[in-house]
Amino acid sequence: MPKIRNLEDLRKIKESAKDLTAARSGGRTRIIVGMGTCGIAAGAREVMTAILAELEKRGIKDVAVETTGCIGMCQFEPLVDVIRPGEPRITYGNVSPEDVPRIIAEHLINGNVVTDKVIGRTD
């Protein structure tokens, strides 16, 4: 009989990933996805699912994924902000799930901003 997941199995996930909570303390990269009605309608939830899947696939643990509400730039949704410690906050606009692997590989891992998707930067 195939094994059916049990909530207690989650404890093992938590124990095996010892650095699980470190992502929230300062000094780590943050990814923020706009999740207002505008973001949701434009596909923000799918973008967030793609971000989680890509981080999981690459085994990246020291990143905090967060959500935020509408920031008034609805026409550019889905919006994704990437904040690397000590670097400007980069806002990507019109992000699709297909853009996610590129943003993670280029920006998060290699440190190069994906310029064609940038709509703003805040120092």
Partner: protein, 194 residues
């Protein structure tokens, strides 16, 4: 319009977050024989007075400052009423709000449910400090998720933000919803085997 019901649930649940709720209950009941789905999102947030409540389905009424139209509630009302369903908001200031929408599933305009697990992990990961309770009932059986129980297993709320935890939870929710739809774990096991 939002694509499906799971997107509407995400949107309405975020209204509850913005109303400073600490506990949000999402309940979906499906009666297979009566071709009906009812969803209720209720919160213990700050609520609305009668004046605001009477205007809340108007897209040009919103408490938000960043954009002057609010489309979440009108979207859901339109979706429910578009398939002979029912829509209602009850609220009292200081106590909270509950949004009920029902849909006739055999109506051609009834939106599909969509990816409920993705909606739930988005909420858990986005607002780990809230208490989320999710219940899905089909013909009397039910699956319940209580974020307090998950936090108890994890040991702390911040772990909900970990992508490994979120990915595992998504699989767990998907599996439980499949079990529920198939009518119990024995049938689920049989189905997986064949």
């Amino acid at each position: 319009m939002l694509e499906d019901l799971s997107h509407s649930i995400l949107d309405i649940a975020e209204n509850a977050v913005n109303a400073e709720a600490t506990k949000i209950v999402i309940e979906i009941a499906e009666g297979l024989d009566e071709n009906k789905i009812t969803m209720i999102v209720s919160d213990n947030g700050k609520g609305m007075d009668e004046d605001l409540l009477s205007k809340i389905s108007d897209p040009f009424v919103t408490s938000r400052k960043t954009r002057r139209v609010g489309l979440g509630i009108p979207f859901l009302r339109q979706a429910a009423e578009g398939c002979d369903g029912f829509f209602e908001i009850r609220s009292s200031p200081g106590k909270g709000t509950s949004v009920t929408a029902s849909f006739r599933t055999d109506h051609i305009d009834c939106p599909p449910m969509g990816d409920l697990a993705a909606t739930l992990i988005t909420l858990l990961l986005g607002w780990p400090d809230k208490r989320w309770i999710f219940r899905y009932k089909i013909n009397g059986r039910q699956f319940e998720l209580d974020s307090d129980e998950i936090v108890r297993v994890l040991g702390d709320k911040e772990s909900l933000r970990s992508c490994e935890v979120a990915t595992w939870l998504k699989g767990w929710i998907d599996e439980n919803l499949s079990i529920l739809r198939l009518g119990g774990s024995d049938q689920y096991a049989q189905d997986k085997k064949s």
